[in-house]
């Protein structure tokens, strides 16, 4: 058990999921739910949020990769995640390049400084 690693989950558009599955992170079998969600045009925000929360609740997922434009849809859920594991990484998509200003982690790291802090 000590040697068993955790999974990398991905929530993204088809190209993103295909790419990462090509990389070998995918898990799909009859007993367990998949560790990826292909978000299409008709995928509801509720489904995305439910999947994200289910990934957070699983103890066997170490990192969650999510397209930033999808993360924007469930920003409140991502901002509410304060634990180190699983780590949430926002990644670009084909149509939406990565914007550091929107990244939850960077906003937490940078946004709280004020002039007084540097006295």
């Amino acid at each position: 058990m000590a040697g068993r690693g955790k999974l990398i989950a991905v929530i993204g558009d088809e190209d993103t999921c295909t790419g990462f599955l090509l990389g070998g992170i995918g898990e799909l079998n009859k007993n367990r739910k998949p560790n990826f969600l292909v978000v299409e045009k008709d995928t509801s925000i509720a489904e995305i949020e439910e999947t994200f929360k289910s990934f957070l609740a699983r103890s066997d997922i170490g990192i969650i990769l999510i397209n930033q434009f999808i993360a924007e849809m469930i920003r409140h859920a991502i901002d509410g995640h304060m634990q180190s594991i699983p780590a949430v990484l926002e990644i670009p998509s084909k149509e939406h390049p990565y914007d550091a200003a929107k990244d939850s982690i960077l906003r937490r790291a940078k946004g709280m400084f004020c002039a007084e802090d540097f006295r």
Binding site: G19, L22, G26, G62, Y98, A109
Partner: protein, 222 residues
């Protein structure tokens, strides 16, 4: 004593701030590399799609059973940071080749000649049975061995036996992205941890400053 404590606190704060800035700069650098590799992967996938066809590089090709070939180990350090590192499973290439060889050998009926059928024995002579066996297409021949998908197989094989080089390049790019993701996850926890330490150090410094100014006021009053 109070002044020296204040100076030490300020020095510590400066060191933490410099560390925080360095970590942010490194994070930004790794992010840029990650984004670039992902874009490279998409570009290679698009090239593969161009040569193979749209539907041949899509979610339709995913296997029905998949086992992960890479896992991530998360180790929590004493200072609260988490270290992520990836580990790739070595695929069993030689066994697969052996299985494939067996598959090739076993194609076709295992038994030659007469097969047993559950029929009334009286009406059928041996010759009739042989004729039936040779002419009919037997649906119940061998146990089906349609290239049973090995869940741990290389995902490239979902897209066909001969895949274009661009698809292999896409796979290579995404493999690098996965490794880099673990490094970025580690850096993120380090950045947030340093941010917390900065916050606490700042509070300590303010407390020391207040104590120092109160002590100064007392001296002046005396």
């Amino acid at each position: 004593m109070g002044v020296s404590e204040l100076e030490d606190s300020s020095r510590l704060l400066d060191e933490k701030l410099l560390l925080f800035m360095d970590q942010l700069a490194l994070l930004e650098e790794k992010r840029a590399t990650l984004n670039s590799l992902i874009e490279q992967g998409w570009f290679s996938m698009s090239k593969a799609r161009y040569s193979m066809g749209n539907k041949h590089v899509s979610a339709l090709q995913y296997a029905s059973e998949i086992e992960p070939l890479v896992s991530v180990h998360a180790r929590t350090l004493d200072n609260g940071e988490v270290d992520f590192c990836t580990e790739r499973v070595k695929q069993k290439c030689s066994n697969e080749a052996g299985k494939d060889a067996r598959l090739i050998e076993d194609i076709g009926p295992q038994e030659e000649g007469v097969r047993r059928r559950i029929k009334p024995k009286k009406d059928i002579t041996e010759k009739d049975a042989r004729e039936e066996a040779s002419s009919e297409k037997v649906p119940e021949v061998t146990p089906v061995r349609k290239g049973d998908q090995n869940p741990q197989q290389d995902p490239l094989k979902w897209f066909g036996i001969l895949v274009p080089q661009s698809l292999k390049q896409a796979q290579s790019s995404f493999k690098q992205v996965i490794e880099l993701s673990a490094e970025i996850a580690t850096l993120q926890t380090a950045v947030l941890n340093t941010r917390q330490e900065l916050k606490h150090s700042m509070k300590d410094k303010h407390i020391l400053q207040e104590e120092a100014s109160a002590a100064q006021l007392d001296k002046e009053a005396d």
